[in-house]
Symmetry: C2
Subunit: 462 residues, 2 copies
Amino acid sequence: MTDPRLERLLATVPGLRLKTDPADLEHYGRDWTRRWTPAPLAIALPGSVEEVRGIVHWANQAGVAIVPSGGRTGLSGGAVAAQGELVLSLERMNRVLDFNAVDRTLTVQAGTPLQVAQEAAASHGLAYPVDFASRGSATVGGSIATNAGGIRVVRYGNTREWVAGLTVVTGAGDVLELNRGLVKNSSGYDLRHLFVGSEGTLGVVVEATLRLSDPPPPTNVMLLALPSFEVLMQVFAAFRERLQLEAFEFFTDVALRHVLAHGAQAPFAETHPYYVVAEFATGDERAETAALAAFEYCLEHGLVLDGVISQSDAQAAQLWRLREGITEALARYKPYKNDISVRVSTMPAFLAETQALLAQQYPQFEVVWFGHIGDGNLHINVLKPDTMENDAFVAQCEQVTTLLAGALERHGGSISAEHGIGLVKKPYLSGTRSDAEIAIMKGIKRVLDPNGAMNPGKLFDA
Amino acid sequence: MTDPRLERLLATVPGLRLKTDPADLEHYGRDWTRRWTPAPLAIALPGSVEEVRGIVHWANQAGVAIVPSGGRTGLSGGAVAAQGELVLSLERMNRVLDFNAVDRTLTVQAGTPLQVAQEAAASHGLAYPVDFASRGSATVGGSIATNAGGIRVVRYGNTREWVAGLTVVTGAGDVLELNRGLVKNSSGYDLRHLFVGSEGTLGVVVEATLRLSDPPPPTNVMLLALPSFEVLMQVFAAFRERLQLEAFEFFTDVALRHVLAHGAQAPFAETHPYYVVAEFATGDERAETAALAAFEYCLEHGLVLDGVISQSDAQAAQLWRLREGITEALARYKPYKNDISVRVSTMPAFLAETQALLAQQYPQFEVVWFGHIGDGNLHINVLKPDTMENDAFVAQCEQVTTLLAGALERHGGSISAEHGIGLVKKPYLSGTRSDAEIAIMKGIKRVLDPNGAMNPGKLFDA
């Protein structure tokens, strides 16, 4: 603690909790990406909005950059501090502040883990329906910064849809209370939506008022085996028309093979090119009948090659494990991840084109596809061959991403569906957003963060 | 057509349709507000995005301001051209461009009337669920510019929720294709949401891709008589818990008196302080039973003083007329309208405080309250006494609005729920948005509209 800048920080924000141990610098300086060496100046752990504001004022004066930090479960390097930045961790600001039964809202500090918010909602008989696998570590603030999606988007939409109000500290040190929980508010530009998905580049989200939903209905789970992606889309259409879908996830035979190798139980005697895990609301006899009818329709029309409907919660969990276990099963191959989206209707053409391109140009790579059909969101994991060095692998994968970015541009897609741009996807942003859009984004950043104090180098180079 | 600026416009955009007849200038220069004398330079009626772009380039060079113009049904003066502006009417850009069954989207030119978009969706077995009374004249572009709400917000949300993609021409003349129909897209700031509700101050919305919903379920309508607003809120809670509400609208005895004087039929033998029109999904026996049970629960607990459930579509329409007929019944009093919102839970306290303030300070005015309970949206109509001159009335009403703005500030509300700020609410914006927020909005406008060509003087003075 001999750095004069930190002395000044403590003079500006008396009593601020700071960490400078090398182990802490390493722990707080990275997210779930592992491509950058953490090198933050220090870790600040403010306990109040006022302290956050003091830190931002100091950063502007001292010329130190701030990396806002939630659960650091991000996959795009948005929370990496590798350039001497101050990490501003929200972990001590993790309290549920308010529940309002009439408004059906929950107000939390930004460092509240997603799962804690979900449990708080459930304790009042309601639900916070944004959900994804890192729920125990990911924070509400971080999920807002990336407009996180997850497995329930087909039914509930993205994080954006559930933010009724935000308190933020801008890069200029202004505290803004945005929308304040109103349902209807046509009083000028909606800055709340500007902060959702801004990846910490405009300011720090310090509190959020979340909309809550009715508790989820009772559901059932189906696993389906399908002959092709085109047929998979037909099955999606048939199911969407007849059922209330809570999730509709697909994966390939390659993905299943890895999950089975990792210890899961084979669902069918034979293997098939594509699989779908569909979760659908039941709750009454009509819904049950509709689900069976949809299933039988698909079997009779040869759309589904094999299938199973869960008969118990345990079996439902077992079916889900085939989809949710993919990431863990692939981990040992240090997969290079892409998280892309196109319009739902464009998925078959995009998938066919890119699978052919990859097979032709990168036959040495095993590529695992899975994702969220209802959202047009495809996760593409390229597996590192055991014999290849990591640096060479990453370098080749970046060429794969360039190839993907080109296909996305042709098909009107996005290089990041739900992970954000961060550092990882920054080189490819211009395939998804036009030069004019990027120039406007940079202009907006200058308005809210005139000295470039907030998470510089993420999303774009200002 | 001797103005040299218009000659230059025609040289820049050959073949552009222009109108300069005094009758046209008057017709296109105003919206549904009647407080400003229209005085546009001319009316341009472009037929393509390229023509819109040409007009914007000309405006920047010629130093002429542009007022984007849809159906001009606005109530805040957002489309008024009283300062020699060029009105850019989208009325010729009124085609449905595309329907996509898989994406469930409809792409329309911005000048498409709301009702045409609704009918196009219905022709494909789907629905565009944003709906309000001026649907026949209001355009999709205009509804996006104000983030229009309406009577279905309690169920379907505001316009913002249904915009999957926007094509805009910015004030700098850039054509941006924002979000391009994607469900998931975390690739930087969501400029689409910046344009929704921007009231033409950042650019011109030229095309929109709208999300469509399942067709609305069969519904039934109830009219309820209630003893107080507090009880009304209890009834809302009881109904929301038990039924799928499609609308939950309230009005006062004063509103009903005017509607009855205008020719409607009295629903009950006695008069009561508050009334609710509730529309709820039926469709199956369980829903019917739940509706009856909710109604009986409220009767038994003395919450509802009287009530009727419609037995036919004709009766449902008759009940709705009591609510929807208010605006027309009041028209002869040249009412001064306020359209405000608070959080749903704050409505009783806000209403009690402002009703008391109004009765105390403006006893000479008859005030009619109605609105959307589920959205916290109250419409307040102050009626002009027959004996009062219009100018004096408006002057006094602006003091009423100042009083309302103060109450809204205390209760965390908004001076505009769904009409927008425009010219009418501009003096009161600072009660709803902080100085820092307004400064940021002005900064953002400068980024997208550097020469201040787009609808200057609306929303705020740049």
